[in-house]
């Protein structure tokens, strides 16, 4: 194993840097800026059973050190994604983590089944999208519902299942433990915090959807806190995200207990960010006294 590589269920990653779902499409656009096969893996945009057109516009707004989005899970549907998008990523030999969304447990199950045999490496079960009227976040805020959907998808899927947690809960460890009990192979966290911006001229919420998901550096302290707590509460590995823009942020997430990290919003500001972080990682490891990425994981905890 190389200094940068990390190993998680289903994912032998050459480095721990992954673009976050919804912020990197299906990779093609960013392949204009650097060869995306350089990435540890890719988390592709959420897939639903059928094509979805998403919410009305405006769908994004800028906030202090962050942004709000209410895309509403627009995607061409899982079958089209398998047909049109996965071959490109397969050619690149880039590990694919497919983000699975739905409005009902049945839809989640159907999407997971459709992905069987498609050549992806893992499923990221999105029970935390705040931007759709039904489904999404409600699955991620009730431990029993989170347990049920995880169990069903786990039974349906032929690859490891990572469950993506919502930060909009009173105690995230309860949800994490529920999905662990349901058989989740790992956890990805955090999805966006629910927020709102009101336009002073129109006197109405700026996003057509009203609320949206807050992401970016603004939420990093919340993400670090939650990864830290969940790391102590479960045994399955965590892929951490929320506001990463620098290599120090990456190290901070690993210290908190993440085994790999995802980078979302920062891609919009700097399309080269993931590539740059991969280049910087060896130097940062050295600077902070580590010999490998694996070694950093969880080292921010008092007993390690």
């Amino acid at each position: 194993m190389s200094r940068l590589s990390v190993r998680l269920p289903g994912l032998d990653l050459k480095n721990p840097i992954i673009p976050a779902s919804g912020c990197f499409g299906f990779g093609k656009e960013y392949d204009q800026f650097y060869p995306i096969e350089k990435l540890g893996a890719i988390m592709i945009k959420a897939a639903t059973e059928k094509k979805r057109l998403g919410n009305k516009t405006p769908r994004v707004a800028e906030t202090y050190s962050g942004m709000l989005n209410a895309i509403g899970l627009q995607n061409p549907g899982v079958d089209t994604i398998i047909k049109n998008e996965l071959p490109f990523l397969k050619d690149k030999q880039l590990p694919v983590i497919a983000n699975v969304a739905g409005s009902t447990i049945e839809e989640y199950e159907a999407v997971a089944k459709a992905l069987n045999g498609s050549g992806i490496q893992a499923i990221e079960l999105n029970i935390s999208c705040p931007n759709v009227k039904e489904g999404g976040v409600q699955f991620g805020t009730d431990p029993d519902v989170a347990y049920a959907v995880t169990k069903r998808v786990k039974a349906a899927a032929d690859v490891p299942v990572y469950v993506k947690l919502s930060p909009n809960v009173t105690d995230i460890t309860v949800i994490a433990q529920a999905v662990e009990r349901a058989g989740a192979d790992g956890i990805t966290m955090i999805n966006t915090l629910t927020g709102m911006q009101i336009d002073l001229n129109s006197r109405r919420p700026l996003l057509a959807n009203g609320v949206g998901g807050l992401s970016g550096p603004a939420i990093k302290p919340v993400a670090i806190r939650m990864v830290y707590q969940v790391y102590q509460a479960v045994k399955i590995p965590i892929i951490g995200m929320g506001g990463i823009t620098t290599i120090e942020d990456v190290i901070e997430f690993l210290l908190a207990g993440a085994s790999a990290v995802a980078v979302g919003t920062a891609n919009f500001q700097n399309p080269m960010i993931c590539s740059e972080l991969i280049d910087q990682l060896p130097f940062a490891l050295e600077k902070y006294g580590f010999t490998s990425a694996e070694e950093v994981i969880g080292k921010g905890h008092l007993n390690e």
Binding site: G22, Q32, G54, M67, Q74, P217, N267, P271
Partner: protein, 255 residues
């Protein structure tokens, strides 16, 4: 599409709250650019502003390798851009979007209809059209006299009618009023401006094939995030303004 840093060679206030940037870029990059395309500008190198700002290509000077952008200070991001000093580096994604379809065009005379900060992209278009021997007539609407810019530049290329909402300069009223009163037309029209204006133009110019350039709040600016969609007229779904646009056939999308 590339991410590049260009040297800010000049920044000038050319009308009320309206800044003109001239940015030096490599000639190879500049020749790739088509009128109607835009750049996605990073505000600064900190994490304070996580989103870039889309600004249209207004002009290119191939002798000095300068790209011209014109933007209005309307919010926090453009206010920061206004403060930039010459000789600083400006981080751009360039070129974004599709641009106007100049090659397929079978026209002798086209009408350019711009409103406010929708005017800049029409300028480089006008230049390219006249280079191709196509006659251009521009109708440019502004709020008020203080907002008017580039009148002489357009006049050097063809007819140009300015109108202001408050009548403080040129004609009075909307661009569609000017088109009506002056009975203007062309083989094609190209329009860029606020959505309300585009709607009015589309209705008024029904008989003429036209292209419109659209605005929407953007995330990535390169087609990856689905922030900037607009519904297609044929009910088959939506398209991305940053990637499939910003220029569309007027009857292709629902405003």
């Amino acid at each position: 599409m590339k991410q590049v840093k260009g040297l800010l060679r000049a920044t000038d206030l050319i009308a009320r709250d309206t800044i003109q940037y001239q940015i030096e870029l490599s000639p190879a990059l500049l020749t790739e650019i088509k009128p109607g395309q835009f750049v996605h500008v990073r505000i600064d190198q900190t994490a304070a502003h996580m989103l870039r700002r889309p600004i249209s290509i207004c002009d290119i000077d191939f002798e000095k390798n300068l790209l011209t952008l014109i933007f209005k200070v309307v919010g926090k991001g453009t206010a920061k851009l206004k403060e930039k000093q010459i000789e600083t580096m400006i981080d751009l994604l360039i070129p974004c979007g599709n641009g106007y379809p100049l090659d397929e065009l079978d026209a002798e005379h086209v009408l350019l209809i711009g409103g406010g900060i929708g005017v800049p992209p029409l300028y480089y278009l006008a230049k390219k059209l006249t280079e191709q021997g196509i006659k251009v007539t521009a109708v440019l609407g502004f709020q008020s006299k203080a907002d008017v810019f580039y009148e002489d530049a357009f006049k050097a290329l063809g007819d140009c009618f300015i109108t202001t909402n408050d009548g403080s300069y040129g004609d009075t009223g909307f661009v569609t009023d000017v088109i009506e009163q002056r009975q203007l037309t062309g083989d094609y029209y190209f329009s860029c401006g606020p959505t309300l204006m585009l709607k009015a133009v589309k209705t008024k110019m029904q008989a003429v094939p036209g292209y419109i350039s659209l605005e929407e709040r953007m995330g990535c600016g390169i087609g990856a995030c689905y922030a900037c969609v607009i519904d297609k007229a044929d009910d088959s779904g939506n398209v991305k303004i940053c990637h499939d646009g910003p220029v569309f056939r007027a009857n292709e999308v629902i405003l």
